[in-house]
Symmetry: C2
Subunit: 564 residues, 2 copies
């Protein structure tokens, strides 16, 4: 590329700064400028919940990589990149290839030419219309460094005790956990009938909600905030829901998702997609090939559905920054479709997912198989073994995985990486069932949870096993259907924990070959145990005895998302 | 399959019992018998080190899956499988399809017919010729349940304080850790010049040795045990090496690898391969299609080299058992080539590897690139972040990964699973550089260690970066070569830890653009820092200034395997 090409980047966070740093390595003499309207650049916004909770004590660690504060001086001396903070790009003149830039402190506007432009303007938190919202102090969103610092200061100075969070996506859940860890009382208010509806299927969402509730987070689903009420000094006192419930709240946190920040691009006539974000090609170029865009303001292609989606993921913003820089430097760099992998910590639990949910598989017309397979993340004999619950969705036609959702106190993250890698590589379940993973007792059971779950998929695909979702079983109970819920655990296990219902019958697996023949042959039998392995074996035994209407409950009691 | 087919399995551990359990699910009416010469079946032999250390207190937990002891009664009632312990199969009469079985307690032999036979006889620990070995008490190998229980009892009853372990493969290292954790003084004696020579390249092996030594394990490489000396009661007192060194030892543990237990198969005329193990096809059938074999007694095909190898891995034994059962049941089940993934814990460190080493890549004539990339396993700001060191080897021709070795106190296991999955799926480094992994600060940095390492591979492949192995740098120092080792860290970092040598020069990265021009242009410059990122940037800056003979040291000081 041209030695003195002038490259201007709008936005100094993940995608913007990654582009700048990589480009400097690729093009030693290029003239690289970054405009950032805020005070800080290159901060770890995914660390905001942990700054809010106090786990990250000093805000400076969020902007310090490897010991050095990444400010304008650092980028100038170490990276050879000109970073100009407190400056907002207000217009792009594509014809003359120049920007109009507002110096926010001085109030002056100036012109700035570019050869190549990178738009990395991120997203803006959606802000609902709520009566009183603009007049009360103590209303926050998760936007940038300044705001998260203000939030923590507000909590501490005003001795906030109760927080209401509106929105139950993953940022809402992360913030609920973080502020609960800080010792605050949390109520999560979610308009739809469950939390995390876009990321998890109902039974998995219910399990996450159950766990949050066990840890003291209150959850109100099917509610929204109607108005906020402040005290005489203007500080938030409580919020009122659309069901007229009053919730005391020293702070209201709005986490209703992010809107791609595309105003600048739209005004300049750059094409935005139906998703609302900037349309880019595989090289991250916008409809104007001299203008690239990346991060939260652009569309991604979903690997499974092929649809355009917006994903608010710092990891992708970084990967895109590298692709943009490499393409500017002359490589045929490509940012491919992605499976939309997401992970978050909830106290000592992990929740993660990739690909599509069962609901999406159904809506998109796939002929799919889904399984829920709980299991210990290490051999039972090894100290500190903890369970995880794995849900997989796979396509009967291609025998490829479509999606996964994994939860639990055990090592869910590791299994998610296996699935994310496998989905990206287009692996079939048959390939995955013989994966040579890294086995040793401190790390995993000899047959890893993922392989075990994949084998259950294969059993179902090949007609060797038939499962029923816990949601369906619950409906059958609720509707008073006549069926047998056959618990094949031991009596001791049954005494400790069980579903209490007149349809429930205990018959330990070891007795099933003998006593099974007494079971009625005209009723549906749903076999269950703790993790659905003995239940599966129970089904096979009963089928061998001639029972026909026999299934097991997916996931067993460990994945039962209702109170026991 | 035939309803009453008689299936006999020889060997009641991982592969054998998995075959039995899966086969029962597939073939409800088949007649399944398992002969096991020992007392126990279905035990977790990979848990032996943790039983030896005392982390697993009760031996029964090694034979209890999900709460129940897996003995003959359990398999009879729950699985419908006949398990006969204390019986050794001594001959296979293939013509008449019957076995000769020795009842080891009664001393009687009987005949047992089969329709389908499965050989899962495992491996036998190699036992070296050492003078005095057969006469002394206190000599152990890691063989089966009985022996590991005897080992722990011996240590406890005889108040053993010092243990010598001969053999430095992964079982030797696992046992060294385990017995050190039990409070014993450990000396690891290894005949070759480094530990783990088959699994890790030299610099990684040195890093593992360094860590073991820091934790108090003594390592003697290039030595072998010449003789053992016992006291008057016949108990081991000390061992003498071939260098005539006397090592006090209350116990000698022999971990010189395993020999596939093929005697029975060989006597029956079943083909064994050059590896010494039983040859099997993709369905795990031996040269006699009615006889299957699996587990440590068979050959596997290495995914990368295509060569036949023997692998002592409980995970594969289980996977093979499933394939055998499914193939017997009529499926076209296949056990594919595998990358030979291995992992073990060393105190609070993890060491793992997959594929081939750099040494193997060189010996097999690959045109390869190798990188060593250390890095934190989470963002620097997140509490509890720990480093891992990732070595990747990739093929320039296909741009696929050939192998990986990962070490450190950080989460190496997760990254190994990504690589093992990727190698199995045949992913290219270009595909891996944009993997949408599960990012959130409690789990990983925004650009995961694997992606970072893959990007370094790509940089090297594309000629953007040139690295030098720490082994080469050490040789240069030792040979007194005239070159500059340019440390571009900060002065404070340099003061804390550095290589002390007259060739070393400190010039922090932030000053390099200004002060770099004073560096001599006629000397080779090897730039280094902590993790080789700043060193890489330093190289680019110097190259942009016209320096030509500039490289960075792979892995930086964090991967420097020599004393500092």
């Amino acid at each position: 590329m041209d030695r003195n090409r002038k490259i201007v980047i709008i936005g100094g966070n993940a995608c913007g700064m990654k582009t700048a740093a990589r480009l400097r390595r690729r093009a030693p003499s290029a003239d690289i400028t970054v405009y950032e309207k805020g005070t800080f650049v290159s901060y770890g916004s995914c660390g905001f919940p942990y700054y809010a909770s106090g786990a990250v004590k000093d805000y400076r660690s969020l902007i310090g990589g490897a010991g050095a504060i990444r400010d304008a001086a650092y980028f100038a001396s170490v990276k050879g990149v000109r970073v100009i903070t407190g400056h907002q790009v207000v217009a792009i003149d594509r014809k003359n290839k120049q920007l109009q830039v507002l110096d926010m402190q001085q109030g002056e506007k100036k012109k700035c030419p570019y050869d190549t432009l990178v738009i990395a303007t991120g997203g803006i938190p959606a802000r609902p219309e709520i009566d009183g919202l603009d007049r009360a102090a103590g209303i926050f969103t998760v936007t940038g460094m300044d705001e998260i610092m203000a939030l923590r200061t507000y909590v501490e100075t005003n001795e906030v005790k109760e927080v209401v969070i509106t929105g139950g996506g993953f940022i809402g859940v992360e913030m609920a956990e973080a502020l609960k860890e800080k010792g605050l009382a949390i109520t999560l208010v979610k308009k739809s009938d469950k939390i995390l509806p876009a990321l998890f299927d109902e039974e998995m969402s219910l399990l996450i909600a159950k766990y949050l509730q066990e840890r003291g987070v209150k959850i109100l689903v099917g509610s929204d905030i109607a108005r906020v009420v402040s005290d005489d000094s203007g500080k938030l006192k409580h919020v009122v829901t659309d069901r007229n419930e009053t919730l005391p709240a020293g702070l209201l946190l709005i986490t209703k998702g992010f809107v791609p920040n595309t105003e600048l691009a739209r005004k300049a006539g750059i094409t935005c997609g139906e998703s609302g974000a900037i349309e880019v090609n595989a090289h991250m170029q916008t409809s104007d090939p001299d203008i690239y865009a990346g991060g939260d303001c652009v569309e991604c292609t979903h690997l499974v559905t092929g649809q355009k989606v917006t994903l608010t993921l710092g990891s992708l913003a970084n990967l895109q920054g590298r692709v943009i820089a490499d393409h500017i430097a002359g490589d045929e760099a490509v940012f491919p479709p992605v499976p939309a992998t997401t992970i978050f910590k909830i106290f000592d639990h992990t929740a993660c997912r990739t690909g599509i949910t069962e609901k999406e598989a159904r809506e998109n017309g796939y002929d799919y198989v889904s399984v829920i397979v709980p299991g210990a993340d290490k051999p039972a004999f090894y100290p500190g073994t903890r369970p995880i619950i794995t849900k997989l969705i796979a396509d009967r036609q291609t025998r490829k995985l479509l999606g996964a959702q994994i939860l639990g106190p055990g090592d869910a993250a590791k299994r998610m990486e296996i699935v994310a890698t496998a989905i990206t590589c287009g692996a079939t379940v048959d390939q995955l069932s013989t994966l040579n993973l890294a086995y040793s007792p401190p790390y995993s059971p000899p047959i890893d949870n993922i392989i075990n779950a994949v084998n259950t998929v294969i059993n179902k695909m090949n007609g060797l096993a038939e499962g029923v979702s816990p949601l369906t079983v619950k409906q059958k109970f609720d509707r008073g259907e006549d069926f047998i819920y056959l618990d094949v655990r031991s009596r001791a296990e049954y005494k400790r924990m069980r579903i209490d219902h007149s349809n429930v019958m205990l018959l330990p697996l070891g007795n099933l070959r003998k006593a099974g023949k007494q079971l009625p042959r005209d009723k549906e039998i749903i076999v269950s145990c703790m993790v659905s392995l003995r239940a599966y074996e129970g089904c096979l035994i009963l089928k061998a005895m001639g029972f026909e209407n026999v299934k097991f409950m997916d996931g067993g009691l460990l994945a039962w998302p209702y109170p026991l």
